[in-house]
């Protein structure tokens, strides 16, 4: 296939960026989207130009590193990570726009690379269970009903890629935060810190500059791991309960 890729080029956080057209040739339908970008980069290096910077690592859809907006959609036209999107989703002669995640909470570092460390700070605010190492009780001492365990698991599958934020018209991090709160708050181990966890995480989320949620649902449509919109309901419910308790 022969394609035109219009890639966002931006040399640093403080410089202006722009879409630049690059023709690429010899693209096989078996290539992943990132392998197409590899091919483009080899062309650029050979012609003495700077390759396009983009984040990627496992290329198996689980590390959450990769992520770009393709033709206006986070991770592109299929519900998957960018590394698992293959070029057979496109046709010969297509013009493809490739842009970084765009959100106030994710400043651009270079080209398609953005800074997602705000997600780490949301986790640091309370996205954990305080379990000291070395002397945990036997694992069978705390049975967890299967439905609770499954609900926790469904939310624990979040890979922290940030597609939810990129897809949201408000740049909200609600789905990410909701996944973590739903995971931990639905387990018996997560109960003692339940209220404080949600208050601290939501506080940090707001302070990091992410927008509010208006239930547009774009986040769940873009989520490669299928975190459901109901998790946001859980987050809202947990937050209201905790806030009311805190006011007393």
């Amino acid at each position: 296939m022969k394609l035109t890729v219009r890639v966002w080029r931006q040399s640093g956080p403080d410089t202006e960026g722009q879409l630049v057209d690059y023709p690429v040739d010899g693209i096989s339908t078996d290539m992943s989207f990132l392998e197409m970008l590899d091919t483009l980069n080899q062309q650029l290096i050979e012609s003495g130009e700077q390759p396009v910077a983009f984040d990627h690592d496992c290329r198996e859809g689980i590390c959450g590193s990769c992520g770009v907006v393709i033709n206006g959609q986070a991770h592109g036209p299929e519900t998957t990570t960018t590394c698992q999107l293959h070029m057979r989703a496109f046709s010969d002669g297509d013009v493809i726009d490739v842009e970084p995640w765009r959100a106030k909470g994710f400043p651009v570092i270079k080209d398609l690379v953005v800074d997602r460390s705000a997600f780490d700070r949301i986790i640091q605010a309370g996205g954990y269970i305080t379990a000291p190492t070395g002397a945990a009780p036997d694992a069978h001492a705390t049975p967890v009903p299967k439905p609770d365990a499954d609900l926790a698991f469904d939310n624990a599958t979040c890979i922290g890629c940030g597609a939810c934020v990129a897809a949201c018209p408000n740049g909200s991090a609600m789905l990410f935060t909701a996944a973590k709160v739903s995971h931990l708050n639905s387990l018996p181990q997560g109960q003692p810190e339940r209220a404080q966890r949600v208050l601290d995480m939501v506080d940090t989320m707001d302070a990091e500059g992410f927008g509010g949620c208006t239930n547009s649902g774009e986040c769940t449509l873009a989520c490669p791991k299928g975190i459901p919109l109901t998790s946001i309901n859980t987050l809202n419910r947990e937050f209201l309960k905790a806030a009311r308790k805190a006011r007393k």
Binding site: D57, I62, C63, T133, P137, P143, A152, F153
Partner: protein, 647 residues
């Protein structure tokens, strides 16, 4: 680049003391913990410990050491600790819990692991691994890791990799991810508490050794390009394996050997570099563009049947090839184990049949893994319930529906059992430098069983290192090291010079083109089957390629910015050196064992022929103008070596 003449190695003093206590094996770890010095919690605050890497080993170590009161300075090259490659492990984690009452025990897990490693691992270490395995599950559950559960609320387990008990705990096909997130969250809690100072997007480029002890690292901030120096009282490397020396592997693209290779050049011995595991069930490469390989879980071999057409290059689609024109070669060659032979056997058989011209798919490098029988026997819903997510992943990558046409699979490089040499305390030959997880060599021997890598990473990080590092710190004797210390300045200048030299080459070939060439050569001559002739050929070519790299590599941009080509170049430069040691080790080890198959050493039936008389030792290499081989003899007092047979 001083050219090493590797073939010219010398034999050094054998290693006799591994610091493991003597006495009954089940009391050794308790004895070691009791004899280890303790450090007063108030004094721990005064000690800085550097941890490089945030995977299962590094993440759990950082969290635990910080919780104990040490000031931890932690590094990862990814943008977040949560992305370390441990996240990609699918299958599960073993633990000797005997929750199934099926006869499992610490001793049985120990026995299986020593045997699975083809008698090339250390008994004391493996016993300890089995001993702490049960605590790992307790720890993870307490942290909220959502393991699979049964309706009664208790943990579910399954069997794995031919083991006859159900000791594998799992979280769907995402066990590595869930365990890693658990460790990451524990680490995040310590970051928030101010006990861990985290440096993401930062890469270790050298080790600082002062007065013979590890005292810090030189790192590069991958965003700004700034080269920084970090000092501490101990350094922990948890940087994973070096499988990417083969270019195509199941490792994440960023996985690299720079930290351990730099440490090796500073004096840490490198043990058993030729022990690389080849995994049989990988999706075959689809063309020259391929950037990495994707593993399909080994569990597929429980129900899938492996075959090739009896006719070479049969043009017919698989469904049109009648039963009697198919060669179910594993069932034919290994009637009692069939499709469930161990990883090394299955891998080699696939290679042999493809080399003989019977392979299927593009380039003839693939065999069929067929579920037609299973679907007929169990019904599609049952197969979907067992393997659905794997089938979906296969279809996404290949655009073929494995419910209708057989999957195509081929072996790939997966895990490295070799790594930096460590003693029982997980300390390298450089005092103060500890090596944990896949980066060390100690527990897996020549072959790694399924569901055992996650176990080792977490055992090292949560339980072993926190005890042994105390002992080292407790012995004291730390002098103040300042930034103007000659050793610090030398390391820092060395890193800067090397980066500048890389950028100054300004040649014509991309970093990837060198890496691909190296990888292909390693796969051809040091992959699933190795011969003295092939290894010698590669040993001649690697130094040439290395010279060409330093003459002709092209890296656009500068060192003062995010420059992914520069990052890759520095890593590939290290792979080009490590590759040579790997080849040499493979040449010197004149036997076949586990994942190391020397064609000259096979039984009349074509099976691996181990040579316990001459090679029941760890090969620990010391860096120098000429590499020096130190042998650590292996003693088997509890599990007696036997020939593996699967026919």
């Amino acid at each position: 680049m001083g050219e090493l003449s590797m073939l010219d190695y010398t034999i050094g003093e054998p290693i006799t003391d591994t610091k493991a206590p003597s006495g009954p094996i089940d009391e050794r770890w308790s004895a070691r913990k009791f004899s280890a010095k303790l450090v007063n919690p108030a004094n721990r605050r005064k000690h800085r410990v550097i941890v490089v890497g945030t995977g299962l080993a590094g993440g759990s170590a950082g969290a635990t050491l910080a919780e104990q009161g040490y000031h931890v300075v932690q590094f990862c090259f990814q943008d977040s600790p949560r992305r370390a490659h441990s996240v990609a492990a699918q299958g599960g984690i073993n633990a000797a819990k005997n929750y199934r009452n099926d006869g499992d025990s610490v001793h049985r897990l120990f026995y299986d692991t020593v045997k699975g490693g083809d008698f090339r691992s250390r008994e004391s270490n493996v016993y300890r691994l089995a001993e702490v395995s049960a605590q790992i599950i307790d720890q993870a559950v307490a942290q909220g890791v959502p393991f699979a559960r049964e309706y009664g609320g208790l943990l579910d387990t399954r069997s794995f990799g031919g083991v006859q008990v159900q000791r594998t705990f799992y979280a769907r096909g995402q066990t590595g991810q869930q365990l890693l997130i658990g460790a990451y969250q524990a680490l995040s809690r310590q970051i928030d508490a101010g006990n861990v100072e985290l440096h993401p997007r930062t890469e270790m480029l050298d080790l600082i050794v002062v007065d013979g002890r590890a005292r810090g690292i030189v790192a590069r901030d991958l965003v700004t390009g700034e080269v920084t120096t970090h000092l501490a009282d101990a350094v922990v490397l948890a940087t994973g394996g070096y499988g990417n020396v083969f270019y195509l592997s199941t490792n994440a693209k960023g996985s690299n050997a720079s930290a351990i290779w730099r440490a090796h050049k500073r004096g840490a011995y490198f043990a058993n570099p030729c022990f690389t595991q080849i995994h049989p069930t990988c999706i075959p490469r689809s063309g020259d563009h391929q950037s990495k390989l994707t593993l399909m879980s080994e569990s597929l071999r429980n129900d899938g049947r492996i075959w090739v057409p009896k006719e070479k290059q049969d043009p017919r689609p698989p469904s049109e090839i009648p039963e009697d024109e198919r060669d179910y070669y594993l069932e034919r060659l290994y009637p009692s184990f069939g499709n469930l032979v161990p990883r090394d056997i299955a891998s080699r058989a696939a290679k042999n049949i493809c080399d003989a011209g019977y392979g299927v798919g593009p380039g003839g490098l693939g065999v069929y893994l067929d579920f037609a029988d299973a679907i007929q026997r169990l019904g599609r819903p049952a197969v979907e319930a067992r393997y659905g997510n794997l089938f979906d992943m296969y279809q996404r990558i290949t655009a073929e529906n494995p419910y209708e046409v057989p999957m195509r699979i081929y072996p790939a490089i997966h895990y490295t059992m070799g790594g930096l040499w460590v003693d029982y305390d997980l300390q390298s030959t450089i005092p103060g430098m500890f090596v944990i997880g896949e980066a060390n060599f100690s527990d897996h021997g020549a072959n790694r069983l399924g569901a055992s890598a996650l176990m080792q990473g977490l055992a090292d990080g949560y339980f072993v290192l926190p005890a042994t590092l105390n002992d080292y710190i407790g012995q004291g004797g730390f002098t103040d090291v300042t930034l103007d210390d000659p050793a610090v300045v030398e390391a820092q200048t060395g890193v800067r010079d090397r980066l500048e030299r890389l950028l100054a080459v300004n040649g014509t070939r991309s970093v990837d083109s060198f890496h691909r060439e190296l990888g292909l050569m390693m796969w051809d001559h040091c992959g699933m089957a190795r011969t003295a002739e092939g290894l010698r050929k590669a040993l001649e070519r690697v130094p040439e390629l290395r010279a060409e790299f330093w003459r002709d590599v092209r890296i656009p941009g500068t060192g003062e910015e995010l420059n992914q080509e520069l990052e890759k170049a520095a890593r590939v430069a290290d792979f080009l050196e490590l590759a040579e040691l790997l080849l040499l080790d493979a040449l010197v080890r004149e036997e076949s064992c586990g994942g190391h198959f020397r064609e000259e050493h096979q039984t009349p039936e074509g099976e691996a022929a181990r040579d316990d008389e001459n090679f029941s030792h760890v090969s620990a290499w010391e860096y120098g103008e000429k590499p020096v081989l130190h042998k650590e003899p292996l003693n088997f007092d509890y599990v007696h070596p036997t020939q593996r047979s699967y026919t």
